[in-house]
Symmetry: C2
Subunit: 355 residues, 2 copies
């Protein structure tokens, strides 16, 4: 007989977007659910999957608290799911909302969340077209959680973008924008400041109570992505949510088979966020963002893409933060003081329930 | 200032598939989220929505307990979402799984659920192609809840089916199988016994503890639906989940603008389920099912469709239970003792968390 203590159990880190989550997914979820005939299947572990030209995405949202500086669970859910459809080269076309609500939840709060979903959907040029509402008895769920699934179709600028990539890389290019696409020489671009979302959440978490003037970056990235694809040369694209930049870049290295070098001094971070990280002992590279996109762009096109992104709301502070290299297979950061250090993948995002 | 007691709050019945849920959806959810350009939009409140030929469905599953006689939350989720895609005339093509897991959940239990999802997906000829895993701290959710979203495409037999319908009704026929399609004279068919799922769940609920030899009917209905559409003449189709047969038929009456008469003696119900209902004071017409479909079929085709359904697993006990009428706009049941009684829509399913 196996003692109770021998039973393996789920830990918070299993859902925190780092190496523990990867392990859970690979050893358990893929064990049972891989092997479909999708064009971009589950086992690619990319931002969305693709079946028969239709992009499909599902994300659950368990953010705490539900309302936070710069947003709420509704805005977060639309932005999060829309962005994941954009990341593979899709245009979001329709969303599906699954609500799970605790008995006793205030209906005026539900209205606020629904209004926020409506407004953010308009911003993202998409509609919620179906949904489901479940209510569970008090104590069975922490207030309200939701799922936002969505479908997308091939982005109107995706083929144009891939044609530009092919000028440089020939046929070593996939039909979709995938993590595995990164190529040595690609410049790494991010569209703005890191860490705002996680620190904004922490600032209002019960018991933490520090005052900081930073708001969540949660936003749908349609306009930034449209402009980048219109210019062309985007090889890979991913949003640094759970596990932040360090998780994202390590996933690219794992899947792409090349190394990545980033330059510490180039990484956009607000002083307030940097100070909060120092105070709380957090690594800003591991903090989740909800309105950021990281792109790997053909070297020769990087400046043009950068300029195009900067013209868009949400892209004003875009910058090149590094490049893909074939010299090693790690994520390495050139530090401000001059040396290099390896950036390991996080075990998990240090801030739980950011999305 | 408004006192705390004046704040309107969510009740369990708001999620229980009856008139209270309809009110919540119409007054709150539709207020903010209606008005898309979908072919079958949210405001039809049908089993799935359709955008640009793509059927989209999302359902969350909060069933309690997670494992029950005849199934588990995984089987339930695949069956539930697949069936809703089938109900509008779709063929399920891909699923998306959103897991929300409580810290401390046993990983071997997660494996059982994943295996069940895998097996039921195979049965339904579909794959989970994408997903998301969230873990929340102990006490924030009751063990495990999940969302199963999915996409479908036009069923290979849908046009054939609609051609048959058009022979009788001409152009008063929609491009999809919708609740609003019902027409006077249509025969109402159900594919088997009602109430099994709800009673199977109740039999294992903590504190209730009655022994009864009945298992959940949870199953994907691909084969039953395929056969019915192949024969042709199916006007409307819906699965009697939350709120059971009485909710389903009242929704048809509301949306279709005609009345429905059912015959008590024809409604398939097991003696064990009937006895349990009497013992517990439950109306079997209001109990949720997870492997049942109710069809409104052109009178002249009803016997052929019935015969076709009966040849399929899950359809062996199919029977005609009533018809659509233009004599009134209610759901009316001819009782065994001879009279008629109105079947009102339930306020909500009397058994919470059946799905």
């Amino acid at each position: 007989m196996v003692g109770k203590s021998d039973v393996e159990r789920i830990k918070v880190m299993h859902g925190a977007g780092g190496t523990m989550m990867q392990k859970l997914i690979k050893e358990h979820i893929l064990k049972y659910l891989s092997g479909s005939n999708a064009e971009v299947p589950l086992e690619y572990l990319d931002d969305s999957s693709v079946f028969n030209g239709i992009i499909l995405k599902s994300d659950s949202y368990t953010v705490k608290p539900l309302f936070f500086p710069g947003g709420d669970i509704g805005r977060l859910a639309v932005a999060g799911s829309v962005n994941d459809i954009l990341m593979v080269g899709g245009e979001p076309k329709a969303l599906a909302l699954g609500l799970i609500i605790e008995e006793g939840f205030r209906i005026d709060m539900l209205d606020r969340i629904l209004r926020s979903i409506s407004e953010t959907s308009k911003e993202a040029n998409v509609n919620v077209i179906t949904g489901d509402t479940k209510v569970v008895e008090k104590g069975s769920i922490d207030q309200l959680m939701l799922n936002m699934s969505g479908i997308g179709l091939r982005h109107k600028f995706l083929d144009r973008n891939l044609d530009v990539v092919k000028q440089y890389y020939g046929d070593r290019v996939y039909r979709w924008i995938l993590d595995r696409n990164i190529m040595p020489g690609d410049k790494i671009i991010i569209n703005g400041y890191i860490g705002d979302h996680a620190i904004a959440l922490l600032s209002v978490r019960e018991g933490l109570g520090f005052q900081i003037d930073v708001v969540s970056d949660a936003m749908p990235l349609n306009r930034v992505v449209n402009e980048a694809l219109r210019v062309g040369g985007v090889v890979a694209m991913k949003d640094p949510t759970r596990g932040g930049l360090s998780n994202l870049l390590n996933e690219w290295v794992d899947k792409g088979g090349y190394g990545i070098e980033i330059y510490e001094e180039s990484i956009p971070i607000r002083d307030t966020v940097k100070n909060a990280c120092e105070y709380l002992g957090l690594d800003p590279l591991m903090l989740g963002n909800e309105g950021k996109v990281v792109m790997a762009v053909v070297d020769e096109m990087a400046e043009d893409v950068l300029k195009a992104i900067r013209s868009q709301p949400g892209g004003e502070n875009a910058t090149i933060i590094g490049e893909v290299t074939d010299k090693h297979k790690y994520v390495v950061m050139r530090t401000v003081i001059g040396g290099y250090r390896v950036v390991p993948p996080p075990i998990g995002d240090p801030v739980p329930r950011i999305c």
